[in-house]
């Protein structure tokens, strides 16, 4: 054994059922502690809604001798998505970057610099062609020959074309890499675009948000590690398990909305009682993401829980379409639970679990769900419908 668990023995091991014994041995033989193994299971089961019997598959994936290579590109970014990745807890960032993947290029945290860093990236493109994962953060400027972002003297566009063009999997994290985000918002001084706009023809999996929630991104990476493919996606190529339903339908303050209990002024009595933020400009009724369930920073909180409205940061072109952020949504949302959406919402939760687990039937369910999700998506674009 080449690797000792870093963690002290915990009671977590006792949760292991007898059927998992072989898995445990497999993990042990590859230097994975029980605790860490269980963290992976937790990530998969809670975020992706996989049944725990899939632990075996996770463990097999972990037993690969050669770790999948991952490179992380940063263009017109604020590094907020990188920082978010550093905060991931299931699996932990140290496990992701040191054990699960060979994280070979990531400017903000890699040891190499200058020419050695460039060579590291070139090696991956050359020697891992068609096999590596590329994560892109930040927008790509296309005006004036791309002079608004250069790395090593090359334009962002040049690098994106080369590195993404040879990758097995392309993931865009954050609003900017998805659709240009804030950098592209009016007047878009640098001609910024998201990855799929700047380099047409790529199959990009999008994890928008400002920033992305790394709990979702980590789950996507674990899914890839386990099944060798991406989880089911919506028509905007966002993973359904995370972007499949409206914030509004999952919101812990929803009961107040349904009962007509609204915050009327900041810091009023309703605010202290946790009432609905709709009248203060909350965009939850038009926003798709799983913030209310997964929450942020180890499930500590999320913006609405902390008292501020949602700004719909995972919606298309949200900076231009959802601001002014303090103005009440133009289409007054009706009272009472919207039957259509709540039905879709919870059907999708179940369907994601089945689809992801039952590998063979994924595509069937994906197709069905795609048509269902269009309803959600159209709401995201146009705002909530009138109530019944």
């Amino acid at each position: 054994m080449t690797h000792q668990p870093l963690f002290t023995p915990s009671s977590a091991g006792e949760l292991m059922s007898p059927m998992d014994r072989s898995v445990l041995e497999l993990c042990r033989s590859h230097g994975i502690s029980r605790r860490r193994f269980l963290e992976f299971c937790a990530a998969v089961t809670t975020t992706l809604a996989l049944p725990s019997s899939y632990a075996q598959i996770v463990a097999t994936a972990l037993s690969q001798k050669k770790k999948p290579v991952l490179v992380w590109l940063e263009f017109q970014d604020c590094a907020g998505n990188t920082e978010s990745m550093l905060r991931t807890s299931h699996p932990t960032v140290e496990d992701l970057v040191l054990e699960s993947f060979s994280w070979e290029y990531h400017e903000t945290i890699m040891a190499a610099y200058g020419k050695a860093a460039e060579s590291a990236l070139q090696r991956v493109v050359r020697e891992e062609k068609g096999k590596y994962i590329v994560v892109v953060e930040g927008a790509i400027p296309t005006a004036d020959g791309g002079v608004y972002c250069t790395i090593g003297g090359r334009t962002a566009l040049d690098i994106a074309q080369e590195v993404c063009g040879s990758a097995a999997v392309i993931i865009a994290v954050g609003a900017c890499a998805w659709d240009g985000g804030l950098v592209r918002s009016g007047p878009n001084p640098t001609g910024a675009l998201g990855l799929q706009g700047a380099v047409p023809g790529l199959h990009v999996v999008n994890l928008p948000g400002c920033p992305h929630n790394s709990a979702n991104t980590a789950a996507v990476l674990v899914h890839y590690l386990t099944f060798g493919e991406m989880p089911a996606l919506d028509p905007l190529n966002r993973p359904l398990f995370a972007y499949g339903h409206l914030i509004h339908d999952q919101c812990e303050r929803r009961a107040h909305y349904d009962a007509g209990r609204f915050i009327e002024e900041w810091d009023d009595e309703g605010a202290r009682k946790g009432w609905c933020l709709y009248k203060m400009g909350c965009k939850g009724p038009e926003a798709n993401l799983n913030c209310p369930t997964v929450q942020w920073n180890g499930s500590t909180s999320w913006p609405v829980k902390a008292g501020h409205g949602c700004i719909a940061c995972a919606s298309p072109r949200f900076w231009d379409t959802k601001s002014p952020f303090y103005e009440r949504l133009p289409h007054p949302a009706g009272f009472g639970v919207d039957v259509t959406v709540s039905e879709i919402g919870w059907t999708v939760v179940g369907a994601v679990a089945v689809a992801t687990a039952a590998h063979g039937v994924t595509s069937i369910i994906r197709d069905r769900r795609a048509s269902e999700t269009k309803t959600d998506e159209s709401r995201e674009k146009t705002g909530p419908k009138e109530g019944k």
């Binding site: 000792q4 604020c78 550093l86 070979e104 040891a111 804030l182 920073n297 909180s301």
Partner: protein, 568 residues
Amino acid sequence: MARIVIDPVTRIEGHLRIEVEVNDHKVTDAWSSGTMFRGIELILRGRDPREAWIWAQRICGVCTTVHALASVRAVENALSVEIPENARIIRNVIAASQNVQDHIIHFYHLHALDWVDVISALKADPAKTAQLAQSISDWPKSSAVYFKAVQDRVKTLADSRQLSLFGSGDWGHPAYKLPPEANLLAVAHYIEALKLQREFIRIQAVLGGKNPHPQTYLMGGMATTMDGSEPDAVINPERITLLNELVANAQEFVRQVYLPDVLAIAGFYPEWFQYGAGIGNYMTYGDYSGDTTMSESGFFFPRGIVLGRDLATVLALDPNNVTEYVTRSWYEYPDGDQAAKHPAQGVTNPKYSGPKPPYEFLKTNEKYSWLKAPRYNGKPMEVGPLARTLVAYASGNGNVMRIVNSTLAKLKLPASALFSTLGRVAARALEADIMVSRLSDWVAQLDDNMAHGNVRLHNGDKWNPNSWPKSAQGFGFHEAPRGSLGHWVEIEDKKIVNYQVVAPSTWNAGPRDAQQQRGPYEAALLDTPIADPERPLEVLRTVHSFDPCLACAVHVVQANGAAHNKRH
């Protein structure tokens, strides 16, 4: 003579390029260039000032929250809005947690690998590492078994030939001086710090909903609510308990791990208390107000300037004396690029005149950066933890003097050693210690207010834009982890018509000006020894000691000056 290029400079935020001339194993000239531009201030024009902070926060995700704070302060300053005491305290808690978080991440994840040879750790005797650890700290995780486990983890990586983030480092470089045991200690704490930062920052999730980019500021206060008897209030007794735990854990880490590690590592590199001083002018706006009016007298970090390394005198600072040059930056002023402009009067066009990509070298005798060159009364200034420490020290601030003097005594160094690469590193660690103590005071104050029924968090007097004057101008500032941050806003007819940011890294990483004065990075790099021009590790040491943040540093005022032309 050789021209060495480092691009990308990694382990920083953003896109920085450094070019240096090396003669006889010494840096004889240096150019610092920001190679990315977004134009966020342009994008802010025409927006509702109440949401400016949401946009401005996205200037940076590493120093997240600091631009939100400076922005909301600028708008409050413009509209004369005073915030309630609790809002001030919560803002201080968020800002101070950011400070401590950033300093820890900077040292372990962005800077340590300039001093620590990861592969050398494989040669360490874990028992001796345990002895070393126990000799510098009483942190409990210091057994030989613990260090052996860490070493095995690194060995697994090395044996797999997939070193991941540690691949292609300068391992074995002659400038690395730590014994294997100290390297192993530092690698262990690199991993521990990854865990700590993830936990500690939950403070911002409690108070701001998430990190990065917490989302609870409001013009006039905070959207966070507090009530001791409401279970659904954002801050209640249970949440206070959590905040206290998170602060206590961080305090333990800073005192028992971060600070001892910095001193131990610095002890092996005494010569780096001589290199890297640079321009020797230090500036701070001051911050962490003790009252709700942001008056200078209540600042925990005092405002002022130390000029020419003279610790006997602290000069007063007036933000009106801040100007920016674009003489060597890829912008143009309509009335010529030789004169500087105050941020509130800035009129700028981005105008790239560098080499066509792909390129090998910048035209360093012309314009060469997307950063402007800020100056105070025409002089370049270093900002950041060292500047704050020196201004506080020279002002006779008791807290700072005590901790600085005792540290200097431990290292057997004079105060002048602070003007150096390692001086910056040490000042940052000392500041983290000071800030983490203040954090527990502020949380206690919040708890006390809540217990006494003082739960007010927002002043809504000016929330309705109809209550605003037709036009208003404001200045918001913050002493961010990396230094003095200023936001200038101009509001007309309820909309932003001009917005300007001068960020800490603009001060530190900026290029030359019309007088050909170098910026702080450039000046600090002069005379840096270079053992191996192919691997200029020593350049990184000094550049990293400033904790560069390039996304913050690059900005533009307005494309055509329409708002000003209209009035003038």
